[in-house]
């Protein structure tokens, strides 16, 4: 008995000590204000590639505004939105944070983002300096919930050595055509680029599709409701639109037969052995597969330029514009913005920072680092120059963005993450052959539109 109670006491005192230690650990500092009117603003972003550029902006900003310090916090994409929402719920959100189209609507709906329109009017910000349409993505009912910071478009990326070995002239990739029936010259290219274990390509009658060594085309089916890295661009080149209106539409159109046609074309590539079957696909990302030589061509975004052309790439890659469909060449264009939290205690200082982020002063710094294309057109030119000076050809992304009618915006609506899951599941079940494309998309569309009722 005595021994047991002693052990119990020891345990309890241990528990108490641990509790005290925990309390001590809790009392960290979270004060933004310092003496003498100095202010520290919290700024959040998710892309670790961009942190250095924005730190450079923050330093430049500090020089111009000595009493405002910017504290940058970067967290990975998967955690970013969870952390942000939790912090908003706890009333301790960052003063300024980076937003993306499919996530920011919920913050607008819940009144977490400050309307910037009065500031924009007062400071006479020139909204025409930005890449066409980007500034409007972040408006709703006359209010403005962010200023654009950058943009991205999509392009083909291909393994240059592999295509050369297959006798493909890289210049021929500049004017590929595509249609959902026979895939156009793009499918011819894919067939030629697909090579089996015996070295026979997809056009050879002796091609063995059960032993493919390098797939001609790597599709992306984990692409949510947008198909930014694949089907969305093809569907758009058939005239497909996601929504009744964008942004802030309430009626999705995933039951459009043209979308089902695109999915069926993808399925035909798999059936011919030109693309890996979804149930035999890799769990790894397409850039990992491209680097392993498992794929010859895939579609990627301009944010991946440094992954494919940078020092970490194991093979030589190059970019080419997307193939042109019946309605022309259509690339998804997407932009990020910076927003101010309604709960910030330093609204004016936060506005100064956002204004700086959206100004040539900062965007030229970002462009000069050649990481992303800044929203300001002139700054984008700087990024192009910076890439050129490093010997990187990224013209395809710029040309698509500049072509009239060459781009389309990704949907911005409420319920973004739910729509994403429903549509992705439907597309995967169609590709896996669990249902036919048309009825899978019809069912998903009903489910999606039900969310808006």
């Amino acid at each position: 008995m005595i021994r047991r109670s002693r052990a119990g006491t020891a345990l309890l005192s241990l528990a108490m000590a641990a509790g005290l230690a925990g309390l001590a650990a809790c009392s960290s500092d979270d004060s933004g204000d310092e003496a003498g009117g100095a202010v520290t603003l919290d700024y959040w972003l998710w892309d670790d590639n961009q942190k250095a550029s924005y730190q450079a902006c923050a330093d430049a900003f500090k020089t111009a505004n000595p009493n405002i310090t910017i504290r940058i916090t970067q967290s990975a994409w998967d955690q970013y939105w969870q952390n942000l929402t939790t912090q908003l719920a706890a009333g301790e959100a960052p003063d300024v944070w980076t937003n993306q189209g499919s996530y920011y609507p919920q913050f607008v709906t819940s009144g977490q983002i400050l309307d910037l329109q009065p500031y924009v009017d007062a400071d006479k910000i020139d909204l025409s300096q930005y890449q066409g349409g980007l500034a409007d993505l972040f408006t709703k009912d006359g209010a403005r919930y962010g200023l654009p910071k950058d943009w991205d478009t999509m392009a083909l990326v291909f393994n240059t050595e592999h295509l050369k070995a297959q006798g493909v002239d890289a210049a021929s990739l500049k004017d590929l055509t595509w249609n959902p029936t026979d895939g156009g010259t793009f499918e011819q290219l894919i067939a030629k680029a697909t090579v089996d274990a015996n070295g026979k390509n997809g056009l050879d009658p002796a091609f063995d599709k059960s032993k493919v060594k390098t797939f001609g085309f790597l599709p992306e089916f984990k692409d949510g409701s947008q198909g930014q890295n694949g089907w969305g661009n093809f569907a758009a080149s058939l005239g497909f639109t996601y929504l009744d209106k964008n942004p802030w539409g309430t009626q999705y159109k995933y039951d459009d037969p043209r979308l089902a046609q695109v999915i069926d074309w993808y399925k035909s590539l798999i059936a011919k052995g030109y693309s890996p079957a979804l149930d035999k696909a890799s769990t790894l990302t397409n850039d990992a597969l491209m680097n392993a030589g498992k794929g010859a061509i895939t579609i990627t975004g301009s944010w991946m330029i440094n992954s494919y052309l940078g020092d970490t790439a194991k093979l030589k890659f190059a970019f080419a514009p997307l193939p042109a469909g019946p309605q022309g060449r259509k690339s998804a264009i997407n932009g990020l913005s910076d927003a101010i939290w309604t709960g910030t205690e330093h609204k004016d200082e936060a506005w100064k920072w956002v204004k700086f982020l959206a100004s040539p002063d900062c965007q030229n710094i970002v462009g000069g680092n050649a990481v992303v294309f800044p929203a300001i057109k002139d700054a984008s030119e700087k990024a192009l120059e910076a890439h050129k000076s490093k010997g990187r050809d990224v013209q395809a992304f710029i040309d698509e963005a500049a072509a009239p009618g060459g781009t389309f915006f990704l949907p911005i609506t409420d319920h973004g993450s739910e729509v994403s899951q429903i549509v992705q599941d439907a597309i995967q079940s169609a590709v896996l052959g669990q249902t036919d494309s048309a009825s899978a998309m019809k069912k998903a569309n009903d489910q999606v539109n039900q969310l808006f009722k």
């Binding site: 309890l12 696909a281 597969l289 993450s417 739910e418 599941d425």
Partner: protein, 293 residues
């Protein structure tokens, strides 16, 4: 004199219990009550929770995805508990009857000591269809690549096998400890009577191990229902919700769609199911307690 002393003891005991009770109330009691409250509200984390009565529960009852998640979870539990217990039993018997090497015992625990996320990533690379070592081996043997994580029929057995790999050693050790309690003379006399190893296992080891086996089952069943990390690392609930287990469902509702109220309701349902299962198992456990006395 004596009675007052006893009362003093009791009062002192409460003081010593206080930290634990406070800890329990703050970290378990209060969150549980909050969870119960959220489960009858509409709450997105960014609004004030508004009372909606039993709406979340009626919606859950009609949500095909919720039932699907439960079904998938049960499928996982059957696969995982089945394979894990059988394997562990085999390994424990081998350790018990064949070798008692401490090095071997330590080696068996190794997979259990590796964090689950690491285990998930490790197997994701090993089993990858295009770049994985296992599929490379299978292809060279002419069996052809298997989409372990991407084939809807294979995904759940794969996840279950990974967790079996990680936990068998630990379970085996628990069972082995139970086997050590079985008196040696039983085996000796059985051997004199000419019983072979298989017969001894069935007639001596298995019946006398029942209480330990029951305990191991209770613990691993509850753990198994809470499968999350391996899935969050490898399949993300896919392909097409083939591995969207109940925990992953709750996680998605809460932290991806921010339906906190709905997620809380699903969590309460899961807690109820686990409560019932545990009660049944505890009864079984108590019933088998007297075997070796």
């Amino acid at each position: 004199m004596k009675t007052t002393k006893r009362r003093d003891d009791r009062r002192a005991a409460w003081w010593f219990l206080l930290p634990v009770l406070v800890g329990f109330a703050v970290f378990y009691g209060y969150p549980a009550i909050r969870g119960l409250w959220y489960s009858v509200t509409d709450y997105t984390m960014l609004n004030q929770p508004s009372f909606v009565g039993a709406d979340n529960y009626t919606e859950l009852a009609q949500d095909g995805q919720f039932w699907h998640s439960l079904l998938v979870t049960v499928w996982y539990v059957v696969l995982n508990i089945g394979s894990q217990t059988l394997l562990a039993l085999g390994v424990a018997s081998l350790m018990h009857r064949l070798t008692r090497s401490t090095v071997l015992r330590a080696a068996l625990l190794l997979p259990w000591l590796v964090p689950n996320v690491t285990v998930g990533l490790l197997w994701m690379w090993l089993l990858d269809t295009n770049l994985g070592f296992v599929n490379n081996l299978l292809t060279s043997l002419g069996v052809g690549p298997v989409g372990f994580f991407t084939d809807a029929a294979w995904a759940m057995p794969t996840v279950a096998a990974i967790n079996t790999w990680a936990y068998t050693g630990y379970t085996a050790l628990l069972l082995y400890a139970g086997m050590l309690q079985i008196p040696q003379y039983l085996y000796e006399s059985a051997a004199i009577d000419g019983a072979n190893e298989w017969r001894m296992f069935r007639r001596i080891t298995l019946p006398l191990l029942r209480p330990v086996l029951a305990l191991v089952l209770v613990v691993s069943l509850i753990g198994s229902f809470q499968i999350f990390d391996t899935i969050a690392v490898t399949t993300f609930g896919g392909p097409v919700s083939a591995t969207r287990v109940i925990y992953y469902f709750i996680y998605e509702q809460a932290f991806r769609y921010f339906h906190m109220g709905y997620a809380a309701a699903a969590a309460i349902c899961l807690a109820l199911i686990l409560g019932v299962l545990t009660a049944i198992q505890m009864r079984l456990l108590r019933a088998s307690r007297s075997d070796l006395a």
